[in-house]
Symmetry: C2
Subunit: 703 residues, 2 copies
């Protein structure tokens, strides 16, 4: 544990604001602590009482005479600063502030919170809260909260930015089964935040599953790093609310328009191995499975049911989630065929249909047999309550077999309610995760399978290319100095060239004759583009002409641009006209980056052309990219088929695109001043042909 021991393993606890009046927070808190049976020393602190709950009450913290490991504060907000000062004076190191009336109420409350924090920081005090419902540590009988009764001890840790949601989760666990290691309501997160917690819980031997509810993430960058490190050891299940918080973001690039708040969270969570939960119900489903069962080693699910309907629904769900219905080995088939128990089963292939008159023995035999099958990674046991169904005995059989064979996950779905209630209790007590429809069970298996694959991915190695960093520095510095946050095509291409990109052949001309001469050298057809630091959107002023096929036409276009553009952009300083080779052979793709305010640079890949933006067939992933991740971004898009040359198309050099993405990733990682970047189009041909960055732009921001 890193620094939170005094919260989670205190030998003594003082409750400031403890009260004898039922209904008051200070009463509920103290009563909950006593009821939990905390074995350490407990000190109620309240100047207006001499005894609370049979214990002597102290007028102040100092009056206790020793230093409590943990102080819980439940007095009015305006009195809290004084309490914290007292804590500092006597050397308290851990404080939970239950009281509300701080940042959440406005500027005055925020000021008060800052004051407290300064005192605490100076004295080395760690604070949980304010504006929270406290913490619970069931294994140590600590209930320093008003979140209800202490739940069972177990291996799930839950932290929450919403106290009531934490209380609701614990209540669900009490009903459907799940034990907890630590429960923390983080409230305003003045000091201890999700980052501190996942770090501490990651190292906590009591905790096997970390789950939490968050509305905001305090430090995105640090969050990714920590979460990624800890996800390798234990799953982190997050319920993230408030996707609409960011609202519409102004973005000047393609990439920026396509990246939304939800996209950012999605790809960052994926990178970090964090499991995103669709609802509190889903979070509960997943947490229960991770708490009780090992992850499936692969996607092959065995389904056992006593009715066709449920089996079909599970099969549909397996197909939709892109898992697989396990194909049993011949040996398994033989065992099932020859067994007496299975003689009356309707179907011994997957999904196994035991028929409506199946008793527990048929279930037990089938489950044991499929768990032994090397082609099976997980088992889903479905039960529909027929008139003769032995629900409780079947639940007992499932518990029995699962204990015998703990290496593969077994999930249960007993349909109905009252008729299976007793059986559900047996499953709960036997630590079998249970689901109210086949679809949620299959979804849970999918999440576990994905997590397992993530945990077993190869070590991430980010390749560093040899680049001309100094040149890019100069270009960016110059623009920032001049306040030019939008960088035009020419300079953006210089930046790209410094990072190993190839741009179209050509040159800058200041006379029509010079333009014609450049064109003759590089060969026709060519493109003419106006070059001016003041003109970012060249097409809008008629500053781009493509497919020019003769020297005469080059000269005509040059003169027309020089005549017309100053009328449309009178203040623009025109430095010349760029003459470029046309890149017609190959496919157009877009490479891009947008810097997410929370998580930093997100790389984007998509097929080129207007359709991409409309169809949103793009992939995002946080930089820096490994070679595998860059490749995976391509594979994610539906258009990948076209790129790799399926469906009668000529394929292109996939590795060249992946390398370009890695180079771009290195550029934006090394230069945090780059806010957005588009290479559009990036023209890529077949293997061996050098891909070309035909057009590009970027925007900067001061850091």
């Amino acid at each position: 544990m890193t620094g939170l021991e005094r919260f989670f393993e205190p030998r003594s606890i003082a409750i400031v604001g403890a009260s004898r009046e039922p209904g008051k927070v200070g009463y509920e808190l103290f009563a909950a602590m006593q009821k939990a049976g905390y074995p350490g020393a407990l000190y109620p602190v309240n100047p207006n009482a001499s005894e609370i709950g049979g214990l002597p009450c102290y007028p102040t913290l100092k009056a206790i005479g020793s230093v409590p490991d943990l102080v819980v504060v439940a007095v009015a907000a305006k009195l809290v600063p004084q309490v914290i000062k007292e804590c500092a004076e006597i050397g308290v190191q851990a404080v939970i502030i239950i009281s509300s009336g701080f940042k959440e109420t406005g500027p005055e409350g925020a000021r008060l919170e800052q004051e407290i924090l300064q005192t605490a920081r100076a004295a080395g005090i760690r604070i949980i809260g304010p504006n929270c419902i406290g913490i619970m540590v069931p294994s140590r009988k600590i209930n320093a909260s008003f979140g209800g009764e202490l739940p069972e001890p177990g291996n799930v840790a839950y932290f929450s930015q919403s106290g009531s949601l934490l209380a609701a989760f614990v209540d669900m666990a009490r009903n459907w089964g799940m034990g907890f290691s630590k429960l923390v309501s983080i409230g305003n997160k003045a000091d201890v935040d999700e980052l501190t917690l996942i770090r501490a819980l990651g190292d906590d031997p009591e905790t096997a599953v970390i789950a939490g509810y968050l509305e905001t993430i305090s430090d995105g960058d640090a969050f990714i790093k920590q979460a990624e490190r800890i996800s390798r050891r234990k799953p982190i299940l997050l319920l993230k609310a408030g996707f609409t918080e960011a609202g519409a973001r102004a973005a000047s690039s393609h990439t920026g328009r396509l990246a939304e708040a939800e996209t950012a969270y999605e790809c960052v969570f994926e990178r970090a191995g964090v499991i995103r939960c669709e609802s509190i119900k889903h979070q509960f489903y997943y947490a229960q499975a991770f708490a009780y069962e090992p992850c499936p080693a692969g996607p092959r699910v065995a389904v056992i049911a006593n009715a066709g309907g449920a089996g079909i629904m599970a099969t549909d769900a397996i197909e939709r989630e892109k898992l697989q219905l396990a194909a049993f080995t011949e040996q398994t088939m033989r065992i099932l065929e020859q067994s007496q128990q299975m003689a009356r089963a309707a179907n011994i292939r997957n999904p196994i249909d035991l028929l409506g008159d199946a008793l527990e023995d048929r279930y037990e035999f089938a489950l044991r047999t499929v768990l032994d099958d090397p082609n099976v990674d997980s088992a889903l046991v479905l039960l529909s309550p027929h008139a003769m169904t032995a629900c409780v005995a079947t639940a007992e059989a499932i518990v029995r077999v699962t204990r015998e064979k703990p290496d593969k996950p077994v999930l249960a779905c007993f349909l109905g309610a009252s008729r299976v209630a007793e059986a559900l209790k047996v499953l709960r007590d036997g630590h079998i995760p249970q689901y109210d429809c086949p679809e949620s069970a299959v979804r849970t298996l999918k999440v576990m399978t994905q997590y397992h694959a993530w945990r077993n991915r190869p070590k991430r190695v980010v390749k560093l290319f040899n680049v001309n960093r100094r040149k890019v520095e100069r270009i960016i510095e110059r623009h920032l100095r001049l306040g030019q946050m939008e960088v035009g095509e020419m300079e953006t291409k210089e930046v790209l060239e410094a990072y190993g990109f190839v741009t179209p052949a050509g040159g800058i001309a200041t006379t029509p004759e010079q333009a014609a001469s450049i064109a003759r050298q590089i060969g026709f057809p060519v493109v003419l583009k106006v070059w001016s630091p003041d003109i970012i959107h060249k097409t809008e002023v008629g500053g781009v002409k493509t497919n020019i096929t003769s020297e005469q036409e080059v000269m005509d276009v040059f003169d027309l641009m020089m005549y017309r553009i100053p009328k449309k952009a009178p203040h623009a300083h025109i430095l010349g006209i760029s003459v470029e080779q046309m890149c017609n052979t190959g496919k157009e793709v877009i490479l891009g980056m947008t810097r997410d305010p929370r998580f930093g640079p997100l790389m984007m890949f998509g097929m080129g052309g207007k359709l991409v933006e409309v169809l949103e067939d793009v992939a995002f992933y946080p930089a820096p990219l490994t070679a595998e991740e860059a490749k995976e971004m391509l594979v994610r898009t539906k258009t990948y088929d076209i790129l790799r040359g399926a469906r009668g198309e000529e394929g292109v050099d996939i590795d060249a695109i992946a390398e370009a993405l890695q180079r771009l990733s290195q550029l934006v990682t090394e230069f945090p001043q780059i806010k957005e970047m588009d290479i559009n189009p990036f023209v890529v041909g077949k293997e061996g042909v050098t891909p070309i960055a035909v057009d590009a732009m970027m925007t900067l921001e001061k850091r």
Copy 2:
């Protein structure tokens, strides 16, 4: 009711196979009937008993001496034919066959089932089953089933192809609240099927909501028609399992490849107003809401919560489901601001946050106020169980306000389990639909809003165009006669022309000079295509050359084709070379049709080009199409924005595409022999420019 009165309102019931031995189906059935308190005459029939359950037992049906309205059969399969014969002899008109051992067991059982059916049909007997668990009619105290205890009477009818699923649904209803009008296990659907039932339940005044579980649909065409008629009056909620049944379908057209079994059900259900349920849990959610609440008149949801977290989750869900967070009127805001109850609320804008210390009065005031707001279509009340929360009193307040203001739906989501259990009972008894997370409640509101919109859509009017039907008949007949199921481009275009489509200008040439002359007349550039009834895939034999710009080139290409194609397709009879105008101005789209084996012709629309197939940005809808439906198909695609001229593109004639879809829809409706059809590309320009069917093919099948 249409013909099922004797099942649902019998004055006397005989149970053939009634038994005194607990555990036997005949015992369970008879005991369930007696326990339900059926007030009519009940006749146990069993030659081996003289009395069952205190009633005289008859050796045969005839021995009863009068004709029972309903006969329930629970004897071994092989004895059933004799029972049905007896029924026929004495004039019984309604029989439920519980017994299994029929079609579901193989050919021998199927033969037995046919035998029974023939006897029944000849005698005018209607049959439910065989291989089912029976029926229940709570309002008449009929429980002719072994599906468990009779549930509460209510307005939901449930039918199911899986008996155990029906039992599970009833069990859920018992626990979480829902009453039933009729419950029918349809088993093998030998006679009474989903179609008979939805028709009967549609006319049943006791039934307000029809829900069902199906694995197969017996007659797709009739199903659409009936379901569409009945959905106008009451919602039909279907849980359809077995999407993977069809497996991979062989298809030779674009349209066929893109249409999968799931797509077919989706668009057919949508057309018929049928609500498709994602799981049995979702079906329960929806059924409860429809049973208890009116539909929201629009998408504007008011959210009331006592914690920020739940409110934010609801807001996220509303955004994802494309509903709207209601914007309260100024009057509502004034009332909320000035009220004493709301003085301590954190936020009186939507989502309203009443804060953790909110008691029932704050909830009541807020709910009453927002339901009065004309900008609000529905209300979602969220409760998180804080230490001080008055869960039960709040539930009572919700019930009270909802009774007072029954015109807008109110859904509740009380998070947690044990701590809200009492309150959930209050909600259940007060007929307030309740959800275990905000996301399921919002999803339910979405489904209700969509259904309301469907029910209020304008009357469907399918326009009939003036066409040359006779010509198409001749072409199709000729191909069928010759066994040519694939129809080539030329003939398909003739068919299209007969239905008002315009194809590219041009003609057929048999000499190079003739080809050059046609090209001169229609103007360059032109396309040359080989014309042979034996060559369907012209490009594969080098039979297409585009963008030909001179007479000399036309003659060269002509001769090259005549020289090369016979080598590649030696047995093809080449009738000539077609010379066609190139259509370069406009956008390419695909119009298509694939005939679904269950539901008939499904129309397809998508943007042209290879990307469409890869990105699957296409829309399907069953023919025949109305003008609105054709237009709606376009709107559904993401590429619609490009067609209508957004994002800097020049728009095209949307109405012309919609008309083309309607014409194609008329063609495939009038000619059921057309199995698949593609017009690809269909080139459409701006308004006023005639769109052109540039290429087309169709396949036929014998009907």
